[in-house]
């Protein structure tokens, strides 16, 4: 599988990563290398092997449904670039 520079721009946009036009070629080469690795793995015969979705052979831990967290608003908002009236402030996002 090979990637076009259009693919690179689209993937970068979806990931909100700034890739300048001069970087596109370099990123394309690196990503194509990763895809080559994936192609190699795809060549392995996995007939009859259940697809693995997680790296560790364990199952999801469940916790009881109980409220254990205190109000941490002060600490959380102290971390934000801007806040007002108990809200995080962000650039206007309304459609």
């Amino acid at each position: 599988m090979s990637l076009s520079s259009n693919d690179i721009e689209r993937i970068a946009h979806l990931a909100r990563i700034a890739v300048t036009p001069s970087d596109v070629h370099d990123v394309e080469a690196k990503l194509t290398g990763i895809f080559r690795l994936i192609e190699e793995m795809r060549a392995v015969d996995t007939q009859g092997v259940a697809p693995m979705t997680h790296g560790l052979d364990m199952t999801l831990a469940l916790r009881p449904d109980a409220v254990t967290e205190p109000d941490r608003r002060e600490a959380l908002l102290a971390n934000a670039p801007a806040s007002e009236a108990g809200h995080f402030l962000v650039p206007k996002v309304i459609e």
Partner: protein, 487 residues
């Protein structure tokens, strides 16, 4: 136009995706509270705010509610399901992805039966129901040119329930949504509060020429939180799509919003590119495994379901299909109904009163059946006095009103205190009839001239003179006899 408001020659195909907020006390991946209405950002754990180094831990209560739903609709409950990341950027989604389920959801398939106004029933097939977390809330009027973000809702557990595209009208879509709403409340997995956003529907609508096999291009109406809006939005969208196609303009797949003020749907600003969520299994969360024993214990603990009750009410109690369906829209209503029967009432009058007088009175005071001031035993006592002829149906309403106001402890006490017992003594009724006839020469002449209506007027006069207490049938008979005798 057909009965459903769809022009001849067209077919409508609708599918619903409903976000049902689960009734857990804490969030799906953190111990923060899910209580509604708290001050902004006071119910946010570090996990909900996506602080680096924090890890989500699944809430058992959310998993159990999803399984209960799956069992209730006859679906396949996956013993092993996978949590996935749905990637997109929005300020109210701090992680940059929503934890959801994609390839292996916990609930697959199943069906929900609903009843239409004419009493016919239809089953909707479900594709899936999956667990996911809700996003936070953006506030746009807090500060000019800036948006505020409140993360209290971030991480609230949701079950997203997806139907096949198999509904054929707005009426069917609403009937399904109501049945689903009734079921999730019945199962006690969602509080069903529409105003607070506990039950939100996205509706996919497409139209096609009748007989066409291929589905038309759909548009998705987002975030409808009332049954009336679902109905209005679908009607508006269907009208719009048919008009476009008839004018030769193809439908473009889009997400639209319904504006209740104008009654129209309008496309959200079209995205420059189609959404690509790049789902993949969440490495923070290994597979969700539930054991056979856990599933079977939950199956055994399920209450009798609305559909089973509905069928039983029709077959064992002989109720009309629509009445039976109405009684099972709400578990508390069905329980009240059964308590009235247990107190000795017959099914049909009990159903009539519940769906008539009781429902109207509850509506009027915006009360739920749980808060009904008239107890099932009191209602049964009242019905007994109507069925044994002590009082008429009409006086029954007066007695009901008195019980509602807490005037007395039982129907018998109200009847006694107010002297409402029906007059069935023929002599007493004849006396009143004669008095009324003596001053009704015109009506008598009209009646003799063949005007049946004149008789009703005389009956009305007699009933009025008796304070509503005379037995109406007896009154009718006595007047006819008197007039036939030339009296």
């Amino acid at each position: 136009m057909s009965a459903a408001g769809i022009p001849r020659g067209w077919e409508v195909v609708i599918g619903l995706e409903t976000h049902v907020q689960l009734t857990t006390r804490s969030k799906i991946f953190s111990g923060a509270s899910t209580a509604f209405g708290a001050a902004p950002n006071t119910q946010v754990a570090f996990v909900d705010a996506a602080l680096p180094g924090t890890l989500p831990v699944m809430n058992r209560g959310a998993v159990e509610r999803a399984i209960r739903f799956g069992l209730a609709i006859g679906a396949n409950v996956r013993r092993r399901s996978i949590m996935a990341r749905k990637n997109y950027f929005y300020p109210d989604l701090p992680k940059g992805y929503q934890i959801s389920q994609y390839e292996a959801p916990i609930v697959e398939g199943g069906a929900i039966t609903f009843t239409l106004a004419d009493g016919t029933t239809k089953a909707v097939r479900l594709v899936r129901a999956h667990l996911e977390e809700d996003a936070g809330k953006s506030v746009h009027d807090l500060v000019p040119n800036v948006s505020g973000v409140d993360l209290n809702r971030a991480g609230t557990p949701l079950l997203e329930i997806v139907t096949e595209p198999c509904l054929a009208s707005a009426e069917e879509a609403v009937a399904y949504a109501r049945a689903l709403h009734g079921l999730v409340r019945w199962l006690d997995i969602c509080d069903g509060n529409l105003q607070e956003g506990s039950f939100r529907c996205d509706v996919n609508v497409s139209v096609r020429r009748a007989g066409e096999a291929k589905l038309g291009t759909r548009r998705e109406i987002k975030n409808l939180n009332s049954f009336r809006f679902i109905e209005q939005a679908i009607a508006a969208e269907v009208r719009w799509q048919i008009a476009e196609l008839e004018d030769g303009r193809p439908i473009v797949q889009a997400t639209v919003l319904f504006d209740p003020a104008s009654g129209e749907t309008r496309a959200m600003r079209s995205k420059e590119e189609a959404m690509d969520y790049r789902y993949f299994p969440d490495p923070d969360l290994p597979p969700l495994v539930v054991t056979e024993a856990e599933v079977e214990a939950m199956r055994a603990a399920l209450p009798e379901l609305p559909e089973a009750k509905r069928l039983r009410y029709v077959t064992e109690l002989g109720l009309p299909a629509y009445d039976a369906a109405q009684l099972v829209t709400d578990r508390a209503m069905a329980e009240y109904f059964e308590a009235v029967l247990a107190a000795g009432a017959e099914a049909k009058p009990a159903a009539n009163w519940l769906l008539g007088e009781v429902a109207a009175a509850l509506n009027c005071e915006e009360k739920s059946i749980e808060a009904c001031p008239v107890t099932p035993a009191q209602l049964a006592g009242l019905l007994a006095r109507i069925s044994d002829g002590t009082i008429s149906h009409k006086i029954g309403k007066t007695v009901f009103e008195a019980l509602w106001q807490g005037e007395a402890a039982s129907a018998d006490a109200v009847i006694e205190a107010r002297g409402l017992e029906q007059i069935t003594d023929a002599g007493a009724i004849e006396k009143i009839v004669d008095e009324v006839l003596a001053r009704s020469a015109t009506q008598i002449a009209d009646y003799r001239a063949g005007k049946e209506k004149a008789l009703m007027s005389i009956v009305g006069q007699v009933m009025k003179a008796s304070g509503g207490k005379a037995n109406p049938q007896q009154v009718n008979e006595i007047i006819r006899r008197r007039l036939a005798n030339g009296g």
